[in-house]
């Protein structure tokens, strides 16, 4: 719940900045943006929270559409004793549809992906490779020619199938500063 409040607060800050922003950054076909940040996640089918290192790269092949790749590297959980996973790393690639007004860039996306996972079991667990599907919703605020502020949430669906079935449904939040060209 805390992460949701933080995400809402960040979106509010972005929107207020957007209203006051005077600098017009020209997002156009061929623009590239990149970022790395820390992302908290909440499992949809359990109470576990995880933390990830999140990196992303996005290319605008049209002014309002982009191809995006994102990778999450699991760093830990809020409670290692009840953690379902030793690791749950994932990568996604898909497209985003953007709704750009001035420096404000709101977008939604569909990103298929893969996860590499290992359960936290007493016996030696096996590593699983699992298909994922995810949907993103996000907002970028271009406040400087080469820099922007972003918030993003991603809903993930999938299932781990080694040693024991485990649903991989999760919602992840990311925010931070990114570079754009």
């Amino acid at each position: 719940m805390d992460t949701q409040k933080i995400a809402l607060l960040l979106i509010g800050i972005c929107l207020s900045f957007s209203a006051e922003s005077q600098l017009e950054v020209n997002i156009k076909k061929g623009s590239i943006r990149a970022f790395s940040t820390l992302s908290p996640g909440k499992m949809l089918h359990s109470s576990n929270h995880y933390f990830y290192g999140h990196g992303g790269l996005e290319y605008y092949f049209e002014k309002n559409r982009s191809a995006a790749g994102d990778t999450y590297f699991m760093l830990g959980s809020s409670d290692p004793k009840t953690s379902q996973f030793i690791f749950n790393h994932s990568t996604f690639f898909g497209v985003n549809q953007h709704f750009i007004t001035g420096n404000s860039d709101f977008y939604v996306g569909l990103h298929p992906g893969m996860a590499i996972t290992k359960l936290n079991l007493s016996e030696e667990p096996h590593t699983g490779v699992n298909p994922l599907v995810s949907s993103t919703i996000g907002y970028n605020l271009y406040f400087f020619k080469y820099m922007h502020f972003f918030v993003q949430s991603r809903v993930i669906l999938g299932k781990h199938g080694m040693d024991r079935p485990e649903k991989l449904g999760e919602i992840r939040f990311s925010a931070g500063l990114g570079l754009n060209y």
């Binding site: 992906g113 994922l132 199938g161 079935p165």
Partner: protein, 203 residues
């Protein structure tokens, strides 16, 4: 009335055909697939494809995907597909307000299946095979170069299936001796972007 509607569709599509010939267009995309009606249950898959447009009416889809079915019976069934489909557009809209382009498709793929016991992954068996698929779909054109496509097709495996036999506490995964012509229903959502034109058709 019915004849009038049919003539209108044919006339409007032939007018559209005379405007642009998309033959030679090459697009690339990503796909998410959900597998239904498999013996072991439903499962999610991820993959990619590229398309080569052959004519106004015909497109080809070259794809690869990996589907992971986690069954309630403690069996995991993994499929790797690499294959192709031919897409036929019975109606072609050019400047259509709806932007929807339906198609029928059929094709063939090479099909690898590995079945394993979830609680004991060393209890496993795999096989290579071949399959054919056919179905219906539609592109939704978000722009002239970019589309989202939804396809629903049934895939028939032309090979021996793998079967898990439960005997008390033991599970034996075996290859069936008969061809059952069974398979699974695949619903695929894909996003595609037209990269370039491989050739320019003659006028």
């Amino acid at each position: 009335m019915r004849t009038y509607i049919l003539l209108s569709i044919l006339l409007s599509s032939s007018i559209a055909f005379s405007q642009i010939n998309p033959a030679g267009n090459v697009s690339i995309g990503m796909r998410s697939t959900y597998s239904f009606f498999d013996h072991d249950g439903g499962g999610l898959g991820t993959g990619g494809q590229f398309r080569i447009r052959l004519s106004k009416h015909v497109n080809t889809d070259w794809y690869a995907d990996y589907i992971n079915i986690i069954g309630d019976n403690n069996i995991r069934s993994e499929y790797f597909h690499i294959g192709w489909s031919v897409l036929y557009y019975p109606i072609r809209y050019e400047n259509l307000p709806s932007k929807i382009q339906p198609y029928v498709l059929a094709g063939h793929c090479f099909d690898y299946n590995r079945k394993s016991l979830i609680s004991d992954p060393s209890n496993t068996l795999d096989r290579w095979g071949s399959a054919v698929q056919a179905g219906l779909g539609a592109h939704y054109h978000l722009s002239p170069r970019f589309d989202v496509s939804l396809t629903c097709q049934y895939m028939w495996h032309l090979t021996h299936e793998l079967e898990a036999n439960f005997e008390h506490t033991e599970v034996h995964i075996e290859e069936t001796e008969h061809h059952s012509l069974e398979g699974h229903m695949l619903a695929t959502l894909s996003v595609n972007y037209q990269l370039f034109r491989l050739w320019t058709p003659r006028k």
